[in-house]
Structure formats: C-alpha cells, structure tokens
Symmetry: D2
Subunit: 374 residues, 4 copies
C-alpha cells in the first residue's frame, strides 16, 4: 500500500476491504512520505519494519526485485495517496509489473490519464480503479438490467452526489485538507472528489456517456480554491438527456449519491445510502422494490455474501472490488482465462472517461456553460 497512513480515511477502508474476503495479506507499504509516520503507520498495520518504506520509489524498486526474484515481493499495490501522486506511483509500479489497485480519480489531468492507459496497455499489470459504488450488488444488478433491455431505450439520466461536509467554511482541516489544494487535488474540487463518482455511476449502469455537456462550477465558500458545487446538463448520442449535480455544500446531506435512469420501458432508481434496495418501475406500472437478497442476476449474486435481509454496506462494496481484483490477478498469474468479473471492474478506461468528463466540464464552465463535446 502506498499512502493511507495514520488518520487517513480511505486507506483504512482499503485495508478493511482487502481483509474481508481473506484474499490479501498486507506485507509492505509506504504509508506516508514522512519517515517517522510511515514507520508508525506500518507498525499499526502489521507490516514488518523491513518492508515499511518512507519512499514509494524505494518500495516499487525493492518489491519489484523481490517479485522478479521469486522472493515474495508483492503481487499488487494499493494506491491511496492524494490525487497528484497517483500518476508517478502508478508509473513506478507499472514499471515493475506489479498489479495496481488505485483510488479514484485516476490522476489530475486527462493527458496524464491517457498516458497511464497507454503505459498500462504495454505492461503486464492489471489495473483496478476503486470506484467503490460499482462494487454494490444492486449497482451491478442495475447494469445487468439495462444491458438486458429491461428499461428499453435510454431516455433520461438524473444523477447527483450531495454531501454537506464542506458546507461549513471550517470543514477542511486535517488529513482531508489536500482536497482543496489544487496542487494535490488537481483542478477539480467537488467535481473530482464526488462529481466523478456520479458520472461514473451513471456511465457504469447505463453503458452510455454523454456526447455533449453544458456545465457550471461554483465555489460557495470564501477562500476555497476549488469548486464545491457543480451542475451539468447532458446530451447523449441517442437523444437522451440528463442532469448531474454534485455538491459538498449541500446542507444536511451525508453521502447522498443517487441515480435515476428512465428508459422507454422502465425506470431504475438507486440511492447509495440504502444500497440494499433498487427500484424498478415499468412505464405506467407498479414500482418493484428489489432488495439485494432478491436480485436474481448473476452479477448481483456474485457480489454479495450474506442472505436476504442481512444488510451489506460500503465496506462490502469496496471489498467486492478487492475480491474481484484477486480473482483477476490469480487468473492472470496462472495464465488462465479471466473470470467474468472482469466486465464489472472499473479500470483505466473508466479513469480516462472520468477525466474526459472533468475536462469537458471545466471547458464548458470556462465558456460560460456552452455545450462542449465530450
């Protein structure tokens, strides 16, 4: 693991996720750029001192050597640093042929995203981008339903991601503070932190991406250097329409990611805060409340662990990405055909697509919300 030292939120989640299904052992890490903190964090995480690194470059190199020499170097690395470090760290581990599990967003610019995709194509490494919400069984069920034609032709997409944790001027201190530093977060604030999740969720479920976008970024909080709110209108190739909005100043919201998709035959609705429920309503008909335990697609059943009525949550969704990644990596190492979960795991294509979205939103915003082709 690179990043995720003491106090970091997402690193701890990655570790829980990796443990849940007993498919990983955490044996090495560069958990912090600060040597002392790296060592202390490694001790907390049960990493032996000799495999705790203060510099991820050293880690890539030495673990790569161990791996090449059959001395037990890591098979895969989790990258959970602030955004600006994703690209260099990815490059270093790709170069060693180590598989990569990387937090979103992929990087800080579309150019770099394209470059990483290209690098990965030429490497022997697998790449998983942890868009958490794609690990929910009912998100995968929704995707299956759309792919199987259950909603008919796509007509409308309404997606949003609202939080209130930046809603007070004082909110961003401590470990999360890098999120409002353009040098670390990249050019997108809320847009890159949660807007990209909303976009990716819509794309993942519908299998469609907009052809044109008209968008506006906004910063409500004085002294904040990045956007804390974004609103977007979307036009799809087939004539479908949509709106997306994301906000971290949406008072009273916790982690309100929700997606509604309307096709010619039916509507789908998913709210992340209650991920054990998916709604499917046929045109003019009666809404069906599909629960996780009663979703009957192979995709949904593959991504769950416990019986109907026993709720699963965010950690389980995250763990699903790790479990699927483990399946892929094992098959890859064994030289056998990739298991079907390959189709459900976001990777570099999702990363590029997310940065294309960010890029287009920023362009449209700078053009006073003119429609811009994606």
């Amino acid at each position: 693991m690179v990043g995720g030292g003491q106090g970091a939120f997402i690193g701890a989640v990655h570790r829980m996720a990796a443990r849940l299904d007993d498919r990983y052992e955490l044996v090495a890490g560069a958990l912090s750029g600060n040597a002392e903190r790296a060592a202390a964090s490694a001790a907390d995480a049960g990493i032996a001192p000799e495999r705790s690194y203060a510099d991820w470059r050293d880690m890539a190199k030495r673990e790569g050597d161990l791996r090449r020499n059959g001395q037990g170097g890591i098979d895969a690395v989790s990258i959970v640093t602030p955004n600006h470090l994703h690209a260099p760290v990815v490059r270093a581990f790709l170069a060693e042929g180590i598989h990569i599990i990387c937090d979103k967003p992929l990087t800080v610019s579309l150019t770099e995203a394209l470059e990483l995709r290209e690098l990965a194509r030429r490497s022997a490494s697998l790449f998983v981008l942890t868009h958490t919400y794609t690990g929910y069984p009912l998100v995968r069920h929704a995707r299956s339903l759309v792919a199987d034609g259950a909603i008919g032709e796509l007509r409308l997409v309404q997606v949003e991601y609202s939080q209130d944790w930046w809603a007070d001027a004082s909110a961003l201190t401590g470990e999360g503070g890098w999120r409002e530093d353009p040098g670390m977060a990249g050019p997108a604030g809320t847009l890159g932190d949660v807007g990209i999740h909303a976009y990716q969720l819509a794309s993942y479920v519908t299998g469609a991406e907009p052809a044109e976008i008209a968008a506006e970024l906004h910063t409500f909080m004085p002294d904040r250097r990045l956007d804390d709110h974004v609103q977007v209108m979307m036009r799809y190739t087939n004539g479908a329409r949509g709106t997306l909005w994301a906000s971290q100043v949406a008072t009273g919201c916790e982690n309100a990611l929700s997606l509604r998709v309307y096709g010619s035959q039916a509507q789908l609705r998913f709210d992340q805060e209650n991920p054990n429920v998916l709604w499917l309503t046929p045109q003019g008909g009666v809404a069906q409340r599909i629960t996780r335990g009663r979703a009957d697609s192979a995709a949904a059943m593959h991504a769950t662990r416990i019986p109907a009525g026993h709720p699963e949550g965010y950690i389980e969704a995250f763990a699903q990405l790790y479990r699927d990644a483990a399946d892929q990596i094992q098959a890859h190492e064994a030289g056998v055909v990739a298991p079907p979960s390959a189709a459900y795991l976001p990777g570099l294509q999702a990363g590029v697509s997310g940065h294309r979205f960010i890029d287009t939103v920023i362009k449209s915003h700078r053009a006073n919300s003119a429609w811009v082709a994606v």
Copy 2:
C-alpha cells in the same frame, strides 16, 4: 365556471374543491363551447338551464348585469378552459367586476400576462391563480420556515416535476389532447403544463427567483409539436444555484413534483406525492420529519382541516385556495381588511413570473442553452 365540461379533469377538481368547505354555490356556467355539451354538463353540475351558457361572452355579460342589478349574478368565476382562452375570458369577466379564479398557466405569452396584470390592477376584481401546490399546509409551512430564517441564506434549489403520462406516443388523446396543440396550449408543452408548477413552487417557498437561466427543451416523442421535457440551470442574485427539470416522458413517474432547498443552516425537502410530510435537516444534524398535523406555523395550521395522522391530499390543497379566495372575496365585498391568507394566495404576480420563466427558457433554448437574464 367557464370550461370544465364533461370529461375534463381539472374542471371536476375545481368543483370538488369549491364544495369542500361550503363556501361556494355553483349557479352558472359556460362549461363547453359546444351548446349541447354545455347544456348536458350544466345539468350534471346542477346548474339551472337558464344560467347555462354556450358562450362565455354571454355569460360574462348577463351575470355582470345580474350582479350589478343586485339580481344575484355570480360573485366569482372559475376559468378552467384550455390555456389560449384564459386571457379573453379573464378580460371579459374583469370588465364586469367579477372576481376571478383561474387555472394556471395564466395565459399563453408574457406580453398577455403583463397586460392582464395591468387590467386587473385597474379593475375591482380579485384574482387567484390556482397553483394547486401552494394550498398544501406543508408547502406553506416550508415558506414560513424559509421566511423565518430557518434555513439561513439560500444556497441551492433542486426542483423537479416528472410524470409519465406522455411517455407513450399514444398518450394524448381525448380531453387532454389540447395540451400538445400550440394553438391552444401556447408555445410551451411540458414546460407550461408542469414545469411552471415546479418553478412556481420553488419561488413560492424560497421567496427568490433566479436572475439567469440556461435551459434546454426537448421533444422525445415523434410527431409531438411541443416539448415534453425541459432541463434548466439557474443562477440566483445572491449567488445561489439550482437546477429544475420537468418531464412528461419520465417513465414510471406519476406526479412526482419535489422540491429541495438548501440554505446555509438547513435543508428542506417536500414531495408532492406524500404531502403530509416535510423534511427539515439542519447542517450536520438529524433530519426532522415534520408531519402536517405537527407543523406549528400559523400558515400551516390555517390550511388544514383534520387532526394529525389523518392524511389530506390534492383536493384539500385545491380547496384551500378556494377557501382562501372566499375569505378574500368576502372581505373585499364587505370592504374590510383582507385576511392574512392574502399573502399565501398566488395571483397575477405569480402568473407574470411564470410566463417570464417560460419566456426565458424558450429564449435560452433557442440560443443553444446560453445563460439568459430572467
């Protein structure tokens, strides 16, 4: 009553609404432009044949005479015709000094709306525009809360109105068919039918209207001559932002008008389909589920009839407008001071504001969604 003959939806609702609180007697009507149907509809509605008119011009003139002569002419008229007739009928009854209760939208153009407002200012008639949803106790409670500072400074508005009854190409036949005829409905389809309700609800609750709009109309159904979908981004004077969308092709939606307002202190949420509940969530705090029977503002308590837990609905909201109108008319006729409900009744100002919205949306749409000042 003018309009509302056999088979018309909204005319029947107006009649139920007028009856509920026993403040009106329906004694005259021009229920249809077709003489035979007018007579049959009048008979159904309990109107005596001698006061059933085939032409609303005759009705205005004769009822005006009766009223002037103290012979029991009507005090007020309900106008429930297709949109294009609102203006001429309003003019005719205004000229007779008869009070007017008119269905929305006020008319078919901003110019005409402004003209009617001016005419009404110079007349002795009161004017109520039946934006139904302003009759809900909890909508009025929400407005009170905002006015009393409960949400702090306005930050975000998210409002939508989605239906699926135009979602099939075959949907518009029979009595409702005029809605897709520009000659009768005006230049706005879904925009004028339900979009205007969404806009008005947001304005009513927040007391604010956007300064600029970027919008797009869309027509999904082939052969439809008006929009059946609209999406809008909004900028408010104080920097607040918002999106509005309205659709009548939103598969699986019944009458899904919902409003969310986020201020610096709290969030409000109202869903028309369960109008007995209003949500108020303070920043970073616990959501409060305010029920109709436990809303403690004067505005809410004034607009309800039955105890907590006994649900009220759409007809009651409509009836509230009639009840309030009756109070206003009686006070006006008696020459006494208007009761406080005056502040809660939409009238010509709301009508003008709605047409300004329609007008701006259409302008922005024609400018490929450029921001246009309202």
Copy 3:
C-alpha cells in the same frame, strides 16, 4: 344530522365528506342537545332555523312526517353523537323509514347491536356504518386481492392502531372528553374508539374473523376510567394466527393504523398514514409498491377521483362511504337493483361483528387473558 355541533371533530368531517361529491344537501339537524348550541351550529351549517331541532326525537318525528307526506323530509340521517346515543337515535329514525349513516361504534353493547340489526332487517331503511378506512381505494383493492386469491390461504394477521393523543394525562378535555366516560362511550375506551377500527379493517380485508381471542386491556393513565391500551392474540378457524394492539398512549404516534396480512402466497401491507400506497410481496419475491392510481381492480378504481400521483386522503375515504351510500339509497328509492358498491359498504353486520369483538376482548381480559371463543 344528529350530533356534530360546534367544536365536534367528526361531525365536521361527515359534512365535508357528504359535500365532496355533491350527492347530499344538509337540510335538517339536531346538532346538539343544548337548544342554544343546536341553533347556533345549525346556522353555521346552513340549516334553516325551522329545520333545526334541539331534540332528535322531534327531528325524527317531523322529518318522518314530511317524508311520508312528500313534503321534502330528509331521505337519510347522519348520526354523529357520542356512542351511548347511537342506539336510541337509530331506533327513532329506523321507525320513520329514514336511511341511516351512523358513526362507529354502532352502539355500546353487543345486545343492543344485535337488537338494532334485527330492527333494521324489519325496516325499510338502509344502514351504513362509517368505518372510514373501508373507503380508501387501496383498502378495497387489498380486499379484492385477497378475495381473488392473490395471497393464497390466510396465515397471519398483524394489525395495530396507535395514537398518542391520550398519552398525556391532560389530553382529554373539551368535546372529546366523553370518550373516557363509560356512561357515554360504553365499556370500551381505546378498544371501542380505535381498537374496533383495527379489528374491522383486518376483517374487511381478509374476509375472516378470529374464532378465539386472548386479550388484555390496560389503563396507563391514573384516573382514567376506561382502557387506553389493548393487546390481543387471535386464532382463526383455518389455523391462521394474529395479533392486534391498539393504544392511545403510544407516544409519538399520530394515527398509525396499519395492517399486514400474510398468506401462503403473498403478503399485503397498508398504512393508513400514507393511504396512497399498498404493498404486495410474493413469497420469496420482490415487493410491489402499488399506488392508488395504479391499482387496477374495479373496487379501487370505483373509489377514487383523481389521477395517479395526486394524493387522496382521509376526507376522500369518508366521502366514498357517502357517495356509495347515495348510490345505494337512490337505487333503493328507485326500486332498482343495488349497485355493486353494496358489497363494499360496512353496515349492521360490521357493527355486530365489532361489538362481538369488544365483548370477547372484555371477557378474555376479565378471565386474565384466557382464550375465549368469539
């Protein structure tokens, strides 16, 4: 109307309900036993002074005479007095052949209920008992579904009615105060006020009544003379089981009447506080959220007025009983066959059944909750 003078809750509801569908004219009343209050209440209600009575005996006699003599006496009377007066008032109007719409409970004892049923059988009058909740379209839809076999064989009944308006010792003052006076309310407090509604709703929907009951009454509030809480276990003839509880000291509850019925094939759930929704869940399957506007039984469609997504409430349910009663009375007077709503209107049989329930609960309670045959 007998009873329902100024300040009474249910009388005003009956009047709104009677007006909504324009099938009744309120022309006579004995609205209070106090002459002055009777007169003032009649004036409020638009009843001419000469048909306002201070004594319901006079009203029955004179209106009966007018009716017999073709001088326009009332066709039907609404009885909305405290419980202990129901029986004598019913007797008086039955004797005159006037149709009766009577609030629940029918009377104050099973003996009297049986007597009234017998009297009515021998009279020319129709009798409707206003168990409000049977007027909800989705309650009727639920009944249709059960009757049509949608849930299979009945297995479990879980029904409850909880309120909090007696939860403070100070709650019962003013007009409602008779509810805790055994001389006026009869021997059952909460049991007769709301428990009977719960029982009737379950019977109405399932078409089944328990064979045996084990029950306990309880009085939480010191100085209260009647029960304010009741809990019941039920055994049905076919082996089905159930529990019923009703409380008016259930802190934080408004008017929480809810019914769940489980059969061998499916489950049904209805909550009165959101009467526009009914849940049907097949065994092992996906819950269906049936809305009022999408319930497709003849019974449901007959009992609603406005389109899908436009919520109806308590007053509409009440009005449905009045509308159906009007249909029945008109057919009866015209000597034609009764319209099908006859099957959906509660009458004396429901009244007897309710008192049999009350009687059995009290017997079981006195036997320390022993099972007692109904």
Copy 4:
C-alpha cells in the same frame, strides 16, 4: 473455531467478522465432525493441517496445552455448531481457560444455561454470546438514549422478527436443516432461532425484562417438528406492556427484525433491515431520523468505522462484537481494567435470560397461553 465447515452460513460470517478489524488470526479449528470435511474446510479457511481437528475435544485439549505451555495455543474459540453442541464445547474450552465467543442461543435448555453461567463464573475465561444485533451502532445508541432517560418511563414494547425462509414446506434442506430437529436445535424452533433475538434486542435496548408472559407457539408447516411461529404478550414490572412475535413463515419477509419502544416522553424505532437509521419521536412532536453517522453517543461512535452516509451492515455489526471481544480479552490477558465496551457485550447473563424466555414461552404455551411468571 468449532463448527462452520463448508456450506455453513454463520461460520463464514464469524470469520469475516473476525477479520474485518484485523484483531484475530484463525489458526486452529474443528470445523466439522466429519474428518474429511473438517480437513477440507480447514484448508479453505487457511488453517494449517496440523491444527485442524476432526474432534473438538481434541482441539480443546491440545490447544489448551499449547496455550498453557506458551506454545501459541489459541486465546479464544468461536463456537458455531448447531445448538445442542454449544454446551459440551463450551465446557471443554472453559476447562482449558480459553476465552469463548459463542453463537446464540447459548444452549438448549435453561438448566444447562444456568450451569454454564456458573461454570464460567468459576473459570478464567471471558464469554461473549454473539447476539449480532447488539453490534449495530444505532442499537447501542438506542440503549444509551433509554439509559439516559430520553424516552422517560418505559410504557410499551413492540418487537418482532419475521422471515419467510421456512414459509415453503420445502425450505429446510441442506446445512440449515438441523434447525427443525429437536435433537439438535433444542425444544424451540423459530422461538430459539429468531424469537430469542427479538427478545434479547428488546431487553438490551430497554434494560427491562417482562415479569409475566402469555404466549402461543404454532407450527404452520405440516411435518415440521418444531414451532415456526410464536406470539407473545408481555407484562413488565413497572406496568409496561408489550407484544412480541416471531415467524419464519411470514411470507414476503426477509429478515425483518424491528423494535419499537414507547416511553412516557418519546418513542424509539429501529428496523434491522436498514440499520443505519434510528427514529426518535418525542410525545406530540416531530420524528427525528437519526442516522448512524450522526448518532452522538459514545456507544454509537465506538461501534462504527466509516463516515456518515457510508452505510454499514450486518457484517460490521458482527465484527463489532469481535472487536469488542478482542479489547476485553487483551485487557484481561494484560491484567488491566476492562474497557467500557464490556457493558455493551452480551454474555452468559444474556444467554440465561434468553433461555428463561424460551422456557417461559413454552410453559405458557402448554398452559394454553396462561400468564406465566418469567
């Protein structure tokens, strides 16, 4: 771990729960009584062959020896066998001074439960009974609220646990089949499988247990040898009342454990299927929807891992019991004072209390539902 071989549901859950917070290492097991299956299951679970046992007696003895001799024997054992084996396995490991984490119900009779409690008192072992639902942050928050007086004096308890997985005659095959074998499950079917959870949840949150019970067991499915449905009325010492019902033939239910508690000041409501929400409604007031991330008690905050709006579920609740057990065991082994979570962990007292409930229900049932003192 004893029990939990291939195909067993709850063993796998225990293992995930133990892993989540990285406080346990699974090093030994007697996962099945069948030697071959034990070995295969151990291999799956990553247990070295030399510490996989086909007989739990051998495991207790050898691991006890290793532990005593400082050779790395296990500190704690998880017992996840069918019910009838709990007691003998507990006795064996208690005798070795190994700490015990045991699935519920504690055993198969009250007598044995009392004996185990006594044995444990005299041993050096800690004992945790995995009543899963006590691991939910909001269950602990509810308990805190009650303890802090937030609901006032206890008045009503309504608790239920309904499932449909025994609702078809064919349901019980495979690994779960022992649940209907009195020789393995004990004398209580649904009562012991889920009824005891409902009882324990109510006791846990309220801190109160009923003084008397009137109950009925029922078996719906032909050929089933144990109850599949139970209904109970309860009287508490302070005069409070309650009903409990549990069913595994409740058509359309998944894992519907829900608790409502009404005190003199407020009502609490918790539904296990959405464990991230707890409702608190003050008398006559507005319901508060408390989310996991916004519950501010020390008890709730201690039992959660991720931020507001990121849902946790059943596995996390289970993991909380393991995490708390680890804290207790470490403190115990270190000879330091027990951390406060001791107060939140169910143990032998909960086990005895559960069996007292089962015992009383059966007695009342046999006495045709007479009230029986607990």
